[in-house]
């Protein structure tokens, strides 16, 4: 079992309150996912040539004491790159105005235990083990601002409880996916992707789905076409919620084995595994509340 939450604000003023509105949604899904939690927030993009990486130091020897500012100094010394770091506990968002591959290569070489959670111009990502309330507090989720977000609370069934196996998963740039369910053919999908040079960070089934869909998008499929390919390729139980720089997308398996409910008002679209995570939202009593149908694509634009 797991919990999924998503929120996309239509009213610009609500971008300031995105995190504050979301935290009770995430905590509301604690019973469905008490072991880990995570959040991807999409905000205004960096300049065209800039990128940011969300980094996790919890698996390094220093843990939360990781020398983040030493990292930016070293990037200046080694690569002559001016990087800006925004630290929250054992997470940090590193921004710079060069191609990300060079930075990622350097990080893998010099800090192999530093986990790269996401890459892009719009996405910030936080995930860790702990209850949703603990994780939200650790990274000050309530202060997060942006146009939309994807959150997850995990009750692991398919792989171990570790920070890197928590959701959201990312692949490529500015794409993330969370999953409630269990795939029955993740290894088939891996074997199809590996010859294309696609590398996996974990043994988690969700990572296979995430990398499959991102691969289709990178190959030129529109989101809807990629999701259709997903229906054809992925077997098992799933409610997937995905985030891109300007969209949230939801699909459910043909048996609708895992729940989802949507509440939409003029101000926002809110998605959760269950209504109890939506009950606190402003104006929800007059929202259009519906259950997404199985094997249908739901895409909302930010």
């Amino acid at each position: 079992m797991c919990g999924i939450v998503g929120l996309l604000v239509k009213t610009p003023a609500l971008k300031e309150r995105l995190g504050e509105l979301m935290v009770p949604m995430l905590i509301g899904m604690t019973e469905r996912g008490p072991d880990s939690a995570g959040l991807a927030v999409f905000a205004d993009p960096l300049a065209e040539g800039s990128r940011k990486l969300s980094l996790y130091s919890g698996l390094t020897d220093e843990g939360a004491d990781f020398n983040w500012h030493g990292l930016t100094h070293a990037l200046k010394d080694h690569l002559d790159v001016e990087a800006i770091i925004d630290v929250k506990n054992n997470h940090a968002v590193l921004s710079f105005a060069v191609a990300p591959d060079m930075i990622k290569r350097w990080l893998r070489e010099h800090h192999p235990k530093l986990h790269i959670l996401s890459t892009g111009r719009t996405i910030d990502l936080y995930k860790d083990v702990g209850t949703p309330a603990e994780v939200a507090e650790r990274y000050d989720f309530k202060s997060m601002k942006g146009s939309h977000l994807v959150g997850h609370t995990r009750m692991a069934t398919e792989s171990a409880v570790t920070p890197d196996r928590a959701h959201p998963f990312t692949a490529g740039e500015d794409f993330c996916l969370v999953h409630n369910g269990s795939l029955s053919n993740p290894n088939d999908i891996r074997r199809k992707l590996q010859p294309h040079g696609i590398h996996f960070d974990t043994d988690n089934d969700t990572e296979a789905a995430c990398r499959f869909l991102e691969w289709r998008l990178r190959e030129g499929d529109e989101l809807e076409a990629a999701l259709q390919r997903g229906f054809d390729e992925m077997d098992g139980f799933y409610t997937f919620l995905m985030g891109t720089p300007d969209k949230l997308a939801l699909i459910r398996d043909p048996f609708a084995c895992k729940p989802a409910v949507v509440a939409e008002t003029d101000d926002y679209v809110a998605i959760a595994s269950e209504f109890r995570s939506l009950a606190h939202l402003p104006g929800v009593k007059h929202a259009h509340v519906f259950e997404p149908a199985p094997e249908e694509m739901y895409v909302w634009n930010a």
């Binding site: 043909p254 048996f255 609708a256 729940p259 409910v261 269950e274 209504f275 109890r276 995570s277 939506l278 009950a279 606190h280 009593k285 509340v289 519906f290 259950e291 149908a293 199985p294």
Partner: protein
């Protein structure tokens, strides 16, 4: 008649369910309002008295499960398994219901004004279900007894492996399940349907429905089925 109200934003669901289980006298017909249900699970489960419980908002999983004698009205949507294993009484969902609505119900009447999700009335054992909207795939799977009225459409495999339950559908089914077949409506069907529609407060013409029941070809093992040699 005494009216009682439980605000789940202020008091616990367990307190309310405990009251409904333990503090009512036999034959208690009081009227209980539930405010701010906010999607909580197990609202008004296991009732055993002819009380009326009105839930003002959206209910979570298993609302009014195992209901006996009581009338439960949900002024909102219901999560998975509403009125699951109901024995008697009435459960009325004014909005939509999620998967497994009325599953294994032995008796009573479940009315859903909106759509029902997948597996509605799965393994129905004698209860009646009236859905004002459409139902999802695999509804009525292995339903043994009771009646199911679908005013809208149905998804795939409607009535798969039916026993003696009967399904009436006004719209279309994407597909019928194994051994389910359309049959002619009889006067008894029209009368039964008229009564169920009336109880549900719907005024559709019974003549606009079709009957689906078991062809009974799965009742006995056929060793020759699909044998090529």
């Amino acid at each position: 008649m005494e009216r009682l109200s439980f605000d789940l934003a202020a008091s616990s669901l367990s307190d309310m369910n405990r009251f409904l289980h333990r503090d009512l006298a036999d034959g208690d017909r009081r009227h209980v309002s539930v405010l701010n249900p906010d999607g909580a699970h197990n609202i008004a489960v296991g009732l055993n008295h002819p009380v009326t419980v009105e839930v003002h908002g959206h209910a979570g999983y298993y609302a009014a499960g195992m209901n006996k004698h009581a009338t439960v009205v949900i002024h909102g949507s219901a999560g998975t398994g509403v009125a699951e294993n109901m024995m008697s009484g009435t459960v009325h969902v004014k909005g939509f219901a999620s998967n497994g609505a009325g599953a294994t119900a032995h008796g009573g009447l479940l009315v859903i004004d909106g759509d029902a999700g997948l597996r509605c009335g799965i393994s129905l054992k004698g209860g009646d279900i009236v859905v004002g909207g459409s139902v999802g795939s695999f509804s009525g799977f292995m339903a043994q007894a009771g009646r199911m009225v679908i005013c809208g459409n149905a998804g795939d495999a409607l009535g798969d492996s039916l026993y003696e339950a009967v399904i009436y559908i006004r719209g279309t089914a994407k597909s019928l399940g194994a051994d389910a077949q359309f049959e002619d409506m009889t006067d008894a069907d029209y009368a039964a349907l008229a009564e169920l529609l009336s109880k549900a407060g719907l005024d559709h013409d019974p003549k606009s429905f079709r009957r689906i029941a078991s062809a009974r070809s799965l009742y006995h093992w056929n060793a020759d089925a699909d044998q090529e040699y």
